[in-house]
């Protein structure tokens, strides 16, 4: 087993994934706070649509997809759309646009999706670089975004009352989320990214004693779940994405069971 884990073939993927498994849950906790954990699915649907559109116009799929995700974040800020429902609408819009573009141009829709979705075992130096870029962006911007995010959640009137340039940090966070999820999807695949955003944050929200520990706990849960899944996938020779989901759902079920509503008597 250990020799598999240290097989140089899987070192770069292991490292890149580890980075994302630590970062995505932090973005996930912020998304959970804002009730926007559906972000990964919403943005991914927009990204496939715009990857396809990009191909029609001769833009490489990767660039088209990234622009689509970032554009989705920007449009969300612009429409002042908040909450999961915004991403629900994104799913619908992206999905139908993909099908309509597919039906009216010479480009296959399935191909577009598989082009913008990565698989961990393919991760190379480019994905690692993207992960490091995400790390840098998070270290630079998350600390200063944290306060406005919490404030907007608990004191929604403060922002409006002070004509704060709220759109600036909303845009910042929406773009950071979109970018982070795009990098996650390109590296881990959509399902792994969705799982890393949703599950560790959900567990941490139940158990953590404070916001600080929510972020730390979510990140640790992500990392531990990731490592277990990595080993399990290698051992059992399985695709990584679904094993990661399984590895994260286990602890979630346990948490849910432990924290089930107190019974009477």
């Amino acid at each position: 087993m250990s020799e598999m884990l240290f097989d140089p073939l899987f070192q770069l993927p292991l490292l890149t994934g580890l980075l994302l498994a630590g970062l995505l849950p932090v973005l996930g906790a912020l998304a959970m706070l804002r009730d926007e954990w559906l972000a990964a699915l919403g943005l991914a649907h927009l990204a496939s649509a715009s990857a396809l559109l990009g191909q029609v116009l001769g833009v490489p799929a990767l660039i088209g997809a990234t622009l689509g995700a970032l554009g989705g974040g920007a449009i969300k800020t612009f429409l002042a759309a908040r909450g999961n429902i915004a991403y629900g609408f994104m799913i619908l819009a992206g999905w139908s646009a993909t099908l309509l573009i597919g039906a009216n141009t010479a480009l296959g829709e399935q191909l577009a999706r598989s082009l913008v979705e990565g698989q961990l075992y393919f991760a190379g130096i480019a994905e690692l670089a993207a992960g490091l870029l995400l790390l840098a962006l998070c270290i630079r911007y998350l600390p200063r975004l944290m306060r406005p995010v919490l404030r907007a959640r608990f004191f929604p009137r403060y922002e409006t009352a002070n004509r704060l340039a709220a759109w600036r940090w909303h845009l910042g966070l929406d773009l950071l989320t979109a970018g982070g999820l795009a990098i996650g999807t390109l590296t881990l695949g959509l399902m792994g990214t969705f799982a890393l955003v949703l599950v560790p944050a959900w567990i941490a929200f139940r158990l953590a004693p404070s916001w600080r520990w929510t972020l730390i706990g979510a990140s640790l849960t992500g990392v531990v779940g990731y490592l277990l899944a990595f080993v399990a996938a290698l051992e059992l020779d399985q695709p990584f994405g679904p094993v990661l989901v399984g590895g994260l759902l286990g602890p979630a079920l346990l948490t849910g069971w432990l924290g089930r509503p107190a019974r009477f008597g």
Binding site: L150, R157, F205, S210, W211
Partner: protein, 212 residues
Amino acid sequence: MCAPDPRPLLQLDALVAGYARPVVGPVSLWLARGEVLGLWGPNGTGKSTLLKAIGRSARVFSGCIELESGATLAHLDQQPVRLPAMPVTGRELLRAAGARPEEPERTGRLPDVLAPLLKRRIDRLSGGQYQLLWVWSALATGADLVLLDEPTNNLDPANRAALIEILGRERDGRGVLIVSHDHDFLERVCSRLLEARDTGLVEVRTARGPGS
């Protein structure tokens, strides 16, 4: 009645505000720094709507709201925001509001009852505990104008007295506008008291006159 300060912190001029339709006004009032202005009146007369209009979250149909330029606002809703599962401590909540619980010299002394709550998750506080934290979060921000809506809800007599004491200390150059149904409370903390009637806002005498 003369303004204690030639340039008021807040001045409403024949303000008509509401949502899809106007629900309150025309209302004229002014508030100077150092004042605690109370507003009371029957349910549904538009007191909260007035606060929201000042806080830019209700629609203004006519009239105008003038705020001293650069003045910052803290506006609390009538119902505190309580979310099902929120792993945020009291201290983190205060920080998010802009208060510095560690620096009492800047934001005023923290009420004694609050100190032990700062380490706990806010979703595990009792109704009154959260209410006090919530109101304190607005006062501790250093905002120039503080809008409070029914701050005495859920408070026991001791905490209500603590709030009265805190508000009594608030005369240091900021303005506070309080909506409440607790007439006794308003009498104790307000320098002026307005009553919402059908005819509009009417000034009522209070125990603490202006500048008392």
